[in-house]
């Protein structure tokens, strides 16, 4: 063995290199305070290792970036951990870098003869921040997309060359495939290459001048190997443990796929850029123009850093440097703290909205994961179309925009927000559609008509209160219900009401309400057609006013009457037709009761389809989620469940 090593040394001279690397003397002995530089090298090592492995699974294009990261995070063996380490080590690197820099400044280690090394360090800092900025975009999720857009737009306002710089960086005038390929080349090739080169110089120059001993008389002279290396290794272990714990308990986030057509109100830069973000929010800064706050001020700070070794030549220079550093650091910490406070703890309107936006973003992220894991998987067009074409995601948004000015959905606007007018909850002027088309809905129409349509009293039609037209009409449904609700609610007629509900709901053909109880449907049909009751009597039958083609049958049950046609009631086609034109003959065309506008022209077919599919529950829900949801629903409706059991006997 020794002979072999001798031979290797003879040919390569490796021993001298190793000796030089390991046997560096440390005046004053090894100390914990010298570990920061080594931890930085270690985090870079972590990034290179995890980065190369992530590279083996990442695909930079707008249709595959999010998708491949989703696959890494949720499907591949230990993918979440590799990505977690990469994500949190990047943040650890920024923290350690700031500590390292502050120590160098406060200890005066930047002064002659170490100026050049200090400048090399500043270059390294720039590269690390560049790596962080480029890496943030690569998952191509909403968070990274919108945060990075701000950064590239700031580049765009750079005086003289802004537009060109921005286009070069983005690979075009807007974001697209080439933004990702360029950012990826920077992130995984150019910047790490530069980092390695400058790190080599940084360490070489560091060795030339030796360590800047804080206190050479602290202890007897020590050696880099093994005294300092042990302390460095322990510090690296602490860093690694922190990164692992964060990866396991917090995990790297992946928000919904980037969608330029869906604003992301929860956009924030990485937390260590928050101070700059908050700084730009000050109105008095904004007055001087974006370039002032976003380019000149940070530029001035960098210039201040660069000039430090020269300022230090002056008698009080070092003290001035330290004092300014402390002031600036305090400012940065203060702004960061302020931004955190405003986002997460303040009760102001903007803060509450931000937290809601974050919750909505998490909701979207969960939903797209659910869809990606569903039977359809991710289509070749990319995961962004999953949410765009998802009734459960889009339906509530369309409802809140187009329907919630009159209707409510379980008391809110569809998205869970109250409908406000000038800060106060606005009164609905039309029915709450939260359980539209359900068995409960049909029952309410049959026996609680006044309550369902009570909001119409808040509305007028051609100068008349709509409630009067709707609810006080003795010859309409309102009058029929007033006359017959007591009959329908008789215990003897329990089966009649249940049957009527089952029969009418079955007309919708909705899959989420299936299975339909055939016996009950038959009972209901008999009631609907012939008015067969177990006790009491109808003065007029359903068919006297309504007609319908029973689902699956060609011939209509009755002749067109004075009330809406119930063919396919509350099903997909019926609902689409109703929303398109509620005043059509088959809907409210027979009376003057309709106050709802026709949406045929104003609501695009695509949106109508999404809205209707959401309202009739026609969307994918994963098996697990479905179970927990229906269990909850079963608990809530426990009473009526046991009721229907007795009916079936």
């Amino acid at each position: 063995m020794k002979k072999l090593l001798d031979w290797l040394d003879d040919r390569t001279g490796y021993r001298e290199v190793v000796n030089e690397a390991l046997f560096e003397s440390i005046p004053g002995g090894a100390r914990w305070r010298y570990v920061w530089g080594s931890t930085l090298v270690f985090t870079f090592f972590l990034q290179v290792i995890t980065g190369i492995f992530l590279w083996t699974a990442y695909a930079p294009s707008t249709q595959t970036a999010w998708e491949s990261v989703y696959y890494i995070q949720n499907q591949m063996t230990l993918g979440w951990l590799v990505r977690g380490i990469h994500h949190f080590a990047a943040q650890a690197m920024v923290v350690l870098l700031v500590i390292h820099l502050l120590q160098v400044i406060i200890d005066g280690a930047y002064k002659a003869p170490r100026e050049v090394n200090f400048w090399l360090g500043i270059v390294l800092m720039g590269i690390v921040l560049g790596l962080s900025l480029t890496g943030y975009l690569l998952p191509w999720d909403q968070k990274g997309y919108y945060a990075t857009k701000v950064a590239t737009n700031i580049m765009g306002v750079t005086p003289a060359v802004g537009t060109e710089v921005q286009q070069i960086v983005q690979g075009g005038s807007d974001y697209g495939h080439h933004t990702l390929t360029r950012f990826f080349a920077l992130h995984a090739g150019i910047l790490p290459g530069l980092l390695i080169a400058f790190l080599g110089l940084h360490i070489a120059v560091f060795r030339r001048h030796g360590i800047h001993a804080k206190d050479p008389s602290h202890a007897p002279e020590g050696m880099f190997w093994p005294d300092q290396i042990l302390k460095d290794a322990v510090a690296c272990l602490a860093v690694l443990a922190t990164v692992l714990l964060l990866s396991i308990y917090k995990g790297a986030e992946l928000s919904a796929p980037a969608d330029p057509s869906t604003p992301y109100d929860a956009a924030r830069p990485e937390w260590y850029f928050l101070f700059l973000f908050r700084f730009l929010k000050f109105e008095f800064i904004d007055k001087f123009g974006l370039a002032f706050g976003a380019i000149y001020i940070p530029g001035a700070l960098m210039l201040f850093l660069v000039l430090m070794p020269i300022v230090a030549l002056w008698r009080f220079g070092h003290k001035l440097n330290v004092a300014l550093t402390i002031v600036i650091t305090a400012g940065i910490l203060g702004l960061t703290g302020l931004a955190f406070y405003e986002d997460w703890f303040s009760e102001s309107e903007a803060s509450l909205k931000f937290r809601k936006d974050v919750a909505a973003a998490h909701h979207d992220a969960e939903r797209v994961k659910e869809l990606a894991e569903g039977p359809g998987g991710i289509p070749a067009t990319g995961a962004v179309s999953l949410l765009r074409n998802d009734p459960l995601t889009q339906g509530p948004k369309i409802f809140s925009k187009r329907c919630a000015s009159c209707h409510r959905y379980n008391g809110h606007d569809g998205t869970g927000e109250l409908v406000l007018v000038e800060g106060k909850e606005a009164a609905a002027t039309a029915a709450d559609l939260g359980n539209f088309g359900s068995r409960q809905w049909v029952e309410d129409i049959l026996v609680n008509y006044q309550e369902v349509f009570a909001p119409t009293r808040n509305s007028t039609k051609d100068g008349t209160n709509l409630g009067e037209i709707f609810l006080d009409d003795e010859y309409g449904m309102a009058g029929w219900v007033k006359e017959h609700k007591d009959i329908l609610l008789m215990p003897e007629n329990k089966q009649v009401l249940a049957g009527l509900k089952e029969f009418l709901v079955a007309q919708s053909g909705r899959a989420d309400f299936a299975p339909y109880d055939e016996k009950l449907v038959a009972v209901g049909r008999d009631v609907f057609e012939n008015g067969t009751l177990l006790k009491g009597e109808f003065s007029s039958n359903c068919l006297d006013c309504h007609d319908m083609k029973v689902r699956g049958e060609e011939e209509a049950l009755g002749a067109p009457g004075t009330a809406p046609v119930l063919t396919g009631y509350a099903g997909r086609d019926w609902l689409k037709s109703f929303i398109s034109n509620p005043a059509a003959e088959e809907h409210y065309g027979y009376g003057d009761k309709n106050a709802m506008p026709a949406f045929a022209d104003s609501l695009p077919e695509r949106e109508l389809e999404l809205l209707v599919r959401w309202m009739i529950g026609d969307y994918y829900v994963s098996e697990n989620k479905h179970q927990t949801d229906s269990e909850e629903a079963a608990e809530e409706s426990g009473e009526s469940e046991s009721g229907s059991e007795t009916e079936n006997e």
């Binding site: 998708e67 290396i229 290794a233 690296c236 998987g377 991710i378 995961a383």
Partner: protein
Amino acid sequence: MNEQSQNKPAEEGVSRRNFITKFWSVVIGGIVSLTPIVVGLTFFLDPILRRRKVAGATGDAAGSQGEGFLKVSSEAALPADGTPVFQQIRKNVIDAWNTYIDQPVGSVYLRKTKEGAITAFNSECPHLGCTVSYQEANHQYKCPCHDSEFKLDGERTNEIPPRPMDELDVKVDESGNIWVKFQSYKIGVSEQIPKN
């Protein structure tokens, strides 16, 4: 170590402490460097550590009939004289994160024998995976790549391929539809080893 142990006791203490320092440096240094490497390598070995999702368990392309049978043709479409018919196979394909609906995934030769039985062979040559073609002239399958040749019953007529053509399970339903359980096998070996 021998040289050092002959030194004075005081220096022995120093060297002992030095040894412990070195020992822990190496151990801790090893842990922090190996952890990311081991994690990363495990991630890299994902293709052999994890069973991938395969389309077809449920929700397959139109025409699936459980157990992986795909409707590919009908009895009436096969000539009575025993001439094989080349038939493309389509099904849903999962490629990592993407699901592609109804994609061509391979092809088979379908044939009605004189006795009326239906046979199906995977058209992939077991030698090196090219698609064999049917030679009308001598009623043989021949591979365009390395001249593997097979009889109509899939048996080899030369020693180039390591095994006969891969025969697939076939079903015919009441309406005369032909269902094939499409399967590919490992190329270049004499045994039939199913892929995935």
